[in-house]
Amino acid sequence: MSLININIKKYYNNFGLTCDFSISNGITGIFGPSGSGKSTLLNALAGFIKPDLGQISIQSQSFFDSNKKINIPPDKRNIGYVTQKANLFPSMSVDENINYGYKKQNKIKLNRIIDIMNLNNLMEKLPGEISGGQSQKVAIARALASNPSVILMDEPLSELDLNSKLMILDYLKKIHIEYKIPIIYVSHDIAEMIAICDNVFLINRGSITKNISPTELIYENSNESDFQNIYSVVLDNEKNLKLNNQTIQINEPVENNHLTIMIPSSSVMVANIENNFLLSDNVFDGILKNIVEFDSHIKLVCDVGFEIIADISKEYYQKSNMKLNDKICVIFKSISVVISKS
């Protein structure tokens, strides 16, 4: 069942947005280069831009209809909006920020949000006194507290450092599990998209071109060299993490039960030998599922019980004589696993 139906046209002097697609529950990614119309689309959904033609409806409620002359103002649309910068209200404390859109009659409970997002010790602080990652966390909690029927996120992680990115991804998953609020997630970072989205729409020059699964994104961006494999994992014991049925070893002990980890594709090694006698922390057997050639290097998509992407050089690729569906083994050091800290 589709939740959000969008069919709009918006013309500018040198740019036009033409979108006709439907979004269902879950986290939907919208991926495209800058200037492709991602932000314009979100602004139209939230009601800050009035399309020239078309309809927007969410959960069968019409927000915009050029034929029926319907244009619901942003404050009546009940859509959460999280921007690139946290944009907390500078003169209000974290508490006041979160309470800004909160209404008592809403079924969503403020205390629960504060607990999930782990905000208890930040409540009295002013936005100037907390870090970028913490600010973005507050911004998400603030959007959540207004009990939105959908949350729009416009590159919410692009301004953050790696550790904060992992932390926020972690929280996004938690709230998605807890509240099941559909999220429309706009970004141009493939790793983020693969890590969080259920489903991705490609947008280019103002039009939706394709609807793909997140891992297919790897074929879409030819210049991507640095890629992060991002996973949600469960703690097994202090230095071992469970991902699907596999165990990943890490370098330092952690306490959180659920956490997000990141393995850079450049730290992952692939060998077309079929044994696991190699002495390394993390060695997994699996199958080579895909080979993507780039100008500078080659990306290998491997299935070892979880999907992992590795970067290898062209020389090594030719020497190793690897082919699709070959049995391979994947190796990475425990020290190269980056762990989110909240």
Binding site: G47, D75, N87, F89, G101
Partner: protein
């Protein structure tokens, strides 16, 4: 004479400032939030003209408008109100001359508020008007109070429009600048020194408070 004109100056400047606050707000809202280009253009003229015209010219405009033979003055006269050469005339003169300083400061500080904050407030269910008061005004409060102070300081020093429109009447319109003029004209050196001292102290005070406000606004950002 000095104390009396000091109190009168403060009284007139305060009332003029209070009159200017809502009008400046209205102008700032139209200038920063209206989509109507004509309205913006008109506001631009309204907030610029009193700045570039000599105060004497402004006083003259007020005189011919509010005198019993003038357009507005005639109507007020019929109702039994006389404005020219009253304290209210002094207030109007001060208000008109200080208006551009206040409204321009309002416009600048409201323009400098991050528009994304307003968008987010709207998405959180806050109406247009509520957003303006709870976000826009609140986030520009130091700029706005600076503008109020600037307008007030200008009203304290107003001379040209006042002497034309409200005259130079002790206890009615003889504010410190007019009393200084009077003392120079009559050679009253003793009062002149005191009056100039008052003027300088008031000036230093307003500049210092303004600086404190600017520093606080920086700290907040």
């Amino acid at each position: 004479m000095v104390i009396e004109s000091l109190i009168l100056t403060l009284e007139i400047a305060i009332i003029a400032t209070f009159i200017n606050i809502p009008i400046s707000f209205l102008c700032a809202v139209i200038a920063t939030r209206s989509n109507n280009e004509t309205a913006k253009f008109l506001i631009d003229i309204i907030v610029s003209l009193p700045l570039v015209l000599p105060p004497v010219v402004l006083g003259y405009f007020l005189l011919i408008t509010f005198s019993p033979s003038g357009l507005i003055g005639g109507m007020l006269d019929a109702l039994g109100f006389e404005i020219v050469f009253t304290k209210f005339a002094a207030v109007l003169a001060c208000a008109l001359v200080s208006f551009p300083l206040m409204s321009r400061a309002f416009i600048i500080s409201i323009q400098s508020v991050n528009k994304d904050l307003e968008k987010i407030a709207r998405s959180l269910g806050s109406s247009n008007i509520n957003t303006f008061f709870t976000i826009t005004i609140r986030e520009s409060k130091f700029g706005i109070s600076g503008g109020i102070l600037l307008g007030f300081a200008r009203a304290l020093g107003e001379f040209g429009a006042t002497i034309i429109f409200a005259g130079n009447i002790e206890g009615v319109s003889r504010t410190i600048p007019l009393a200084i003029f009077q003392s120079i004209q009559t050679g009253d050196d003793q009062n002149l020194t005191l009056l100039i001292l008052c003027s300088v102290i008031l000036g230093i005070l307003s500049v210092s408070i303004n600086n404190i406000l600017i520093q606080r606004s920086k700290k907040n950002k």
